[in-house]
């Protein structure tokens, strides 16, 4: 039951911000590497999406797995990255924690009920300061009835 996981929090996971990983990410996006290749570079706007790697290494960290959306009927609809100050820099280490913020339904113009889920991941630094938040919104479309 999808709604049953609303409010669920995952385990905290560590995410070291590595220079090589950032450069690999920048190059995959065809960025100007000279802007990002120094040892105190800020991370790219969407770099925190690579938290996938670190979440996967920590048991019970990835709460998205608990949202039983059918991949054939669901899409990634929106994504927001918020930095609560200048973006963190290479060499810092963040602690991330994800939660299923909200699950809700909306009816579209065709009268079909769509299910939305918002998963929020907060990233704190070594001093406990909230540095960034990422919000992922996915939509599951209803099954087609014949």
């Amino acid at each position: 039951m999808v709604a049953a996981v609303e409010g669920l929090s995952g385990a905290r996971f560590e995410m070291p911000l590595e220079q090589g990983k950032l450069l690999e990410f920048i190059e995959s996006l065809h960025g100007e590497t000279r802007l990002w290749s120094h040892s105190s570079a800020h991370i790219a706007p969407t770099f925190l999406t690579s938290a996938f790697f670190w979440e996967a290494r920590t048991e019970s960290a990835d709460v998205k797995r608990n949202v039983a959306f059918d991949p054939a009927r669901s899409v990634h609809a929106e994504q927001i990255f918020t930095y609560h100050g200048p973006p963190p820099k290479v060499g810092e280490k963040l602690a991330g924690q994800s939660r299923v913020e909200r699950i809700y339904e909306k009816t579209n113009r065709q009268g079909k009920v769509l299910t939305f889920v918002d998963v929020v991941t907060d990233f704190h630094d070594d001093f406990g300061v909230l540095r960034a938040s990422a919000t992922m919104r996915a939509i599951e479309f209803p099954e087609e009835t014949s």
Partner: protein, 134 residues
């Protein structure tokens, strides 16, 4: 041109272009981001899910356009990046952007970006806010 001097409604001085997007681009991004969803690289999986081919990861063009904008304003000034995905992107697509300054308030700037494919269909919209340190 200094983008911090733009007025509300002004177009950004350059436009962003991505593509034609290859399957290698997709695989490279997936490897770098850690998003290994098979629907983006596995032909059989994608077809069983009802798609004509593996579709492009939405965060690939989203990441590229926001990186381009961060390079215009300065990586240290990025405060928020918000995307809304509005259409599928397929291998072979070429995407182009248009963007304007949406608001300015002291040291803060907000831009709106729109990314369209070769048919003129909007595939994503993006709003980014920047703040210059005093």
């Amino acid at each position: 041109m200094n983008v911090w001097q733009l007025k509300v409604g002004d177009s950004l001085p350059d436009s962003f272009c991505l593509g034609p997007i290859s399957r290698s681009d997709i695989v490279r991004y997936q490897g770098a981001s850690g998003d290994f969803q098979p629907v983006h690289h596995d032909e059989e999986f994608a077809r069983k899910a009802g798609y004509k081919a593996p579709l492009v990861v939405g965060m690939y063009p989203a990441g590229a356009i926001s990186l381009w904008a961060a390079e215009l304003f300065g990586p240290e000034s990025v405060r928020q990046t918000a995307f809304r995905f509005s259409a599928m992107v397929w291998p072979g697509d070429t995407l182009k952007s248009e963007g304007q300054l949406a608001s300015r308030d002291g040291a803060k700037r907000e831009i709106g970006l729109r990314l369209t494919n070769q048919q003129g269909e909007c595939v994503l919209t993006c709003r980014m806010t920047f703040e210059r340190e005093a």
